[in-house]
């Protein structure tokens, strides 16, 4: 049998295959270069970048939970300038397709970041992390309010020629409403889910296990919630959906594709198996062959109901 066709398109961005990395779990790519051929991945989504460098939260920042982990990294990053001068060149040399995850405290931040990154060579798309608190609106996350989500999306949309992927927070009553708002605001795609807000307590000291008290839950534990949300959103919006959340194996990735995701991002699994992305890609190819599917696109949204 010939090799199945793995290409997918996310809002004008053609990817050789649908396996991407999730922001914040793959560093700036270079960290994994001795395990994974970066060029072979669908795309590398880098750690969230802000206008100014951020130190992040005080430690402890991570704690393991049942089939998952909580993190309160606090969006530590080198800032857009150092990203462009120190991190991007490596990714370009490695011939990776680079998606830059961006974050800000205000709409102006997002707009400025989009402009700045649009001028750079070697960036394939922007992923807008709207789970951050809007400091101008009293700290309510952009991603939990449809109006704010739309406003951020519009601002970025108008500031860049790059494909815009809006990354949704799962900590909402109705994620389809936020997804629709992003689509209305001009997003080329949505990606979901970001982490679920969680907490853990040290019963000996009676203190939170994270200095930040609460943190984001990721890993296999969240997969059922993520898959449900991806399915709901894929049925609602007409733009492509990128599935994220607990993907550890090819089987997991295939579930997301069947639920309607056009591509997937692998997150926490990279920590446990730094070759997870390549192995998931290999498993996906094997599945397509076994099921005699000529193209991965036949799988996308192929869930049979009733």
């Amino acid at each position: 049998m010939t090799q199945p066709d793995l290409r997918v398109t996310i809002g004008g961005l053609e990817l050789p295959n649908p396996v991407m990395t999730a922001s914040g779990t793959f560093g700036y790519g270079e960290e994994f270069a001795s395990y994974v051929n970066l060029h072979r991945l669908g795309a590398v989504v880098v750690k969230g970048i802000s206008l100014q460098p951020r130190a992040g939260n005080p430690p402890p920042r991570i704690v393991e939970t049942a089939c998952g982990m909580l993190n309160a990294i606090g969006l530590e990053n080198v800032g857009v300038d150092r990203f462009l001068s120190e991190k991007l060149p490596y990714l370009r040399r490695a011939n990776a397709r680079v998606v830059v995850n961006v974050l800000g405290d205000s709409i102006d931040d997002y707009r400025a970041l989009a402009e700045r990154l649009s001028d750079a060579e070697g960036i394939s798309a922007l992923e807008i992390n709207i789970s951050c608190p809007n400091v101008k609106k009293g700290g309510v996350a952009f991603g939990t309010d449809a109006k704010m989500a739309r406003a951020v999306t519009e601002a970025v949309r108008n500031a860049t020629r790059l494909p815009v992927i809006v990354k949704l927070s799962p900590n909402v009553t109705d994620i389809t409403a936020i997804a629709s708002a992003a689509a209305d605001g001009g997003a080329d795609a949505v990606s979901l889910i970001n982490t679920l807000l969680g907490m853990a307590i040290d019963i000996r000291s009676r203190r939170p296990r994270l200095a930040n008290v609460v943190g984001g839950l990721s890993g296999p534990a969240v997969k059922p919630v993520a898959l449900r949300m991806v399915w709901q959103v894929a049925r609602t919006v007409s733009i492509p959906v990128v599935g994220i959340g607990g993907i550890t194996s090819a089987e997991d990735a295939i579930e997301f594709l069947i639920a309607g995701a056009t591509a997937v991002e692998v997150g926490t699994a990279n920590f446990i198996n730094p070759r997870a992305t390549e192995e998931i890609l290999a498993g996906l190819i094997a599945y397509l062959k076994e099921h005699r599917l000529a193209s991965v696109r036949e799988l996308i949204g192929s869930l049979q109901l009733g």
């Binding site: 914040g24 560093g27 939260n57 920042r61 089939c67 998952g68 296999p220 990279n270």
Partner: protein, 268 residues
């Protein structure tokens, strides 16, 4: 592009060195060849997802035959699962990771290795790399080892001695060696006027004690730190510690360390 291995390795030896202290020897030539003392590996305690994350362990020894050893104490589920692995079993180990001990550039100093509890683990590997050097000019090479109780040290002390190091031990329960803290052995074994270089690994309070003495004596000292780690390779940013030189940034133990100069660490 170098291609690091992620496949499982064979456990060629499993030892019990104390009631809850174990040592595993794992065949992983690609790690053994690359490893430097003070570096660590990330170990998956079992297949499946409980526990989910890998566990960091210092590289305790490497052998010419391509084996890597870890020495550990059972403190939770991960180490408990590791303690049940027998010879012939499989273990998924990746690495080596991190910045190890900086070996002295000259050979003219006396060197003291100070280990508490499982902090002893990386010092045996370090001792092996140092013996060749110090032998040249006859400088002193000393190991001060601390533990809860004497039986935990029997095997390890013997191995340091076999390498030719002068060793002294301290135990919390007084069952062997000095009854008290390993820091109290320092002044008995290290003449204040002499030039000493110190390498230490162990519980935070112990290392703080060592550092205080070293600062007082102006002895250079390197410390090996522990934090929670998700990835071990600089990707998750979970292993942050305060950077005393720049309050607007953090150091990352898995990449900037685990070994630091004592001056790089905030010792509250």
């Amino acid at each position: 592009m170098e291609h690091s291995q992620t496949r499982t390795s064979e456990v060629v030896r499993s030892e019990r060195l104390g009631s809850d202290i174990f040592r595993l020897t794992v065949l992983a030539p690609w790690i053994a060849e690359a490893a430097q003392p003070g570096q660590f590996v990330m170990v998956q305690p079992a297949d499946g997802q409980d526990p989910l994350l890998r566990r960091p362990f210092s590289i305790h020894q490497v052998t010419g035959a391509g084996a890597v050893q870890i020495l550990f104490k059972v403190v939770g589920r991960g180490t408990s699962l590791l303690s049940r692995i027998r010879q012939g079993g499989q273990l998924n180990v990746i690495g080596p990771f991190g910045k190890g001990f900086a070996l002295p550039s000259g050979v003219e100093e006396n060197i003291c290795l100070i280990g508490g509890g499982m902090g002893i683990a990386p010092l045996l590997f370090l001792a092996k790399r140092l013996i060749g050097r110090s032998a040249v000019v006859g400088c002193r090479l000393v190991a001060l080892l601390g533990a809860r109780t004497g039986s935990e040290l029997t095997v390890l002390q013997g191995e340091f001695q076999q390498l030719g190091l002068a060793t002294a031990i301290a135990t919390d329960d007084g069952s062997s060696g000095h009854h008290g803290l390993v820091t109290q052995l320092m002044l008995q074994n290290m003449a204040p006027g002499d030039a000493w270089r110190v390498y230490t690994c162990g519980p935070h309070p112990m290392m703080r004690g060592v550092v205080e003495i070293c600062q007082g004596m102006a002895w250079p000292c390197q410390v090996s730190l522990e934090t929670m780690m998700a990835c071990g390779m600089g990707a998750c940013l979970g292993c942050a510690i305060t950077n005393p030189k720049d309050p607007n940034s953090y150091l990352h133990v898995c990449k900037d360390g685990p070994v630091f100069e004592m001056s790089e660490v905030a010792w509250r």
